[in-house]
């Protein structure tokens, strides 16, 4: 039974991926990719990665899908011109052969993996109580591999700087994205009033529960960012000016606090990002609290794109 379910999921997944890749129309491809992302979350559940499944559904399928949907609408006009550059049959056959060769090589590697598999789980379990958190994944993210998480937070901010740098000179410091106007009595405006309070509670719960259960700041930040964007799309709020002082403080507070806590570890525990024994849990909470606004702002602003217009006071 388990194998049957697995086989059906795999067949659907591969068929969707192929369909997305070869579809004639870019919009169809994006729609396929969103469904593919949701199916992928199911794969993560089957692979016992509930935290990964939550992240995939929220970011991999949700945010990436919305981003691509926004782009495909604005790229409509360019599709016909590039369609003429479609690869000829010769190149397609060569590409298929190369793809098959890569797949076959990877499959050979998978089938010759060592048994029993190497694992770090026996190292994580006895050391987890020292961190004060119960969810081993949160423990890895913020204690054992904290440096990766720090660099990731910095990469996100750098990514946003990269997006903003693409603004035309005249729009620098202005507001990103479009100013949406929706019927103030319409269903969108209604949902944008009703859903955010629920979304904020769910988001903060995921944040808090992440210490001991599946969840955490990434999944939480995605939900909070989505609520903010819903308010923007319903025309109830505007995107912030990108030269706002508070906004920029919010963008860097997470990495700054993270680095500060890391530096505190040098005199207090003898290494960068080491936590003194009894202080581990409060310090981890402090980092997570500081990272939350950074993640919410970066995720939402990455979706909004570069600054495009001026308007309104700061």
């Amino acid at each position: 039974m388990t194998t049957l379910v697995g086989a059906v999921i795999v067949a659907l997944l591969l068929w969707l991926a192929l369909w997305t890749v070869v579809a004639r129309d870019a919009f169809v491809a994006v729609a396929g990719f969103v469904v593919y992302g949701l199916l992928l979350s199911l794969v993560w559940v089957r692979l016992a990665g509930i935290d990964v499944a939550l992240t995939e559904a929220a970011i991999g399928g949700g945010l990436t899908g919305a981003l691509l949907l926004g782009a495909v609408g604005r790229l409509r006009a360019t599709e016909a011109a590039t369609a003429a550059e479609r690869a000829g049959p010769g190149l397609r056959v060569l590409a298929a052969l190369l793809a098959l060769a890569v797949t076959a090589a990877l499959m050979l590697a998978v089938l010759s993996l060592p048994d029993p598999a190497p694992t770090l789980a026996p190292l994580v379990v006895p050391n987890l109580p020292a961190t004060g958190v119960g969810n081993p994944i949160t423990g890895v993210l913020l204690a054992f591999r904290a440096l990766d998480t720090l660099l990731e937070a910095i990469v996100l901010v750098i990514g946003l700087i990269g997006v903003w740098s693409l603004a035309p000179d005249t729009a620098w410091g202005g507001r990103p994205g479009l100013r949406y106007r929706a019927d103030p009595d319409g269903i969108l405006a209604y949902l944008a009033r009703v859903l955010p309070p629920i979304g904020i509670v769910v988001g903060l719960y995921l944040f808090w529960a992440g210490a001991d259960h599946p969840g955490g700041k990434f999944q939480s930040a995605t939900i909070l960012a989505a609520m903010w964007m819903l308010v923007q799309m319903a025309g109830l709020g505007d995107t912030p000016r990108t030269d706002g002082g508070w906004l920029r403080l919010g963008l860097v507070i997470g990495p700054l606090v993270f680095v500060a806590v890391g530096a505190f570890g040098i005199p207090a525990a003898g290494a960068f990002l080491a936590y003194p024994e009894t202080w581990a849990k409060p310090l981890i909470l402090l980092i997570e609290l500081a990272l939350l606004p950074t993640l919410v702002l970066v995720l939402a602003l990455l979706m909004n794109g570069p600054p495009r217009r001026h308007g309104g006071a700061r």
């Binding site: 870019a26 692979l47 970011i59």
Partner: protein, 106 residues
């Protein structure tokens, strides 16, 4: 066949499918989608390896799983930067073509 081997083999096929799409699709947005599929193939393979590493009472090795969360978030950021670059390219050249020679008539 165990569940992790099944998904690991499927992940290999996903990498191949994404690679094929990246080569044959001329539009940059389609290349980006294909690249994302290739990336998810790598993620699923890594996730299957994490499942193989189940030990010490845990259902999977938490270290690769935590790195996967980081990877998914970074992949989203990279996709957002690419989309912004692509939209800017179209804004300033009126074409999304990546060919060395601009299409005739432009």
């Amino acid at each position: 066949m165990s569940v992790e081997t099944l998904y690991a083999l499927a992940a290999c096929a996903l990498v191949g499918i994404g690679l094929y799409g990246m080569i044959v699709q001329p539009h940059p947005l389609r290349k980006l989608i294909a690249f994302n599929i290739m990336g998810t193939g790598v993620f699923v393979l890594f996730g299957a390896l994490a499942k193989r590493g189940a030990a010490a009472g845990l259902v999977a090795d938490p270290v690769p799983q935590a790195l996967l969360i980081t990877a998914i978030v970074v992949a989203f950021a990279a996709t957002a930067v690419t989309v912004a670059l692509l939209l800017r390219l179209v804004e300033s050249t009126d074409t999304a073509s990546l060919a060395d020679e601009p299409p005739a008539g432009r």
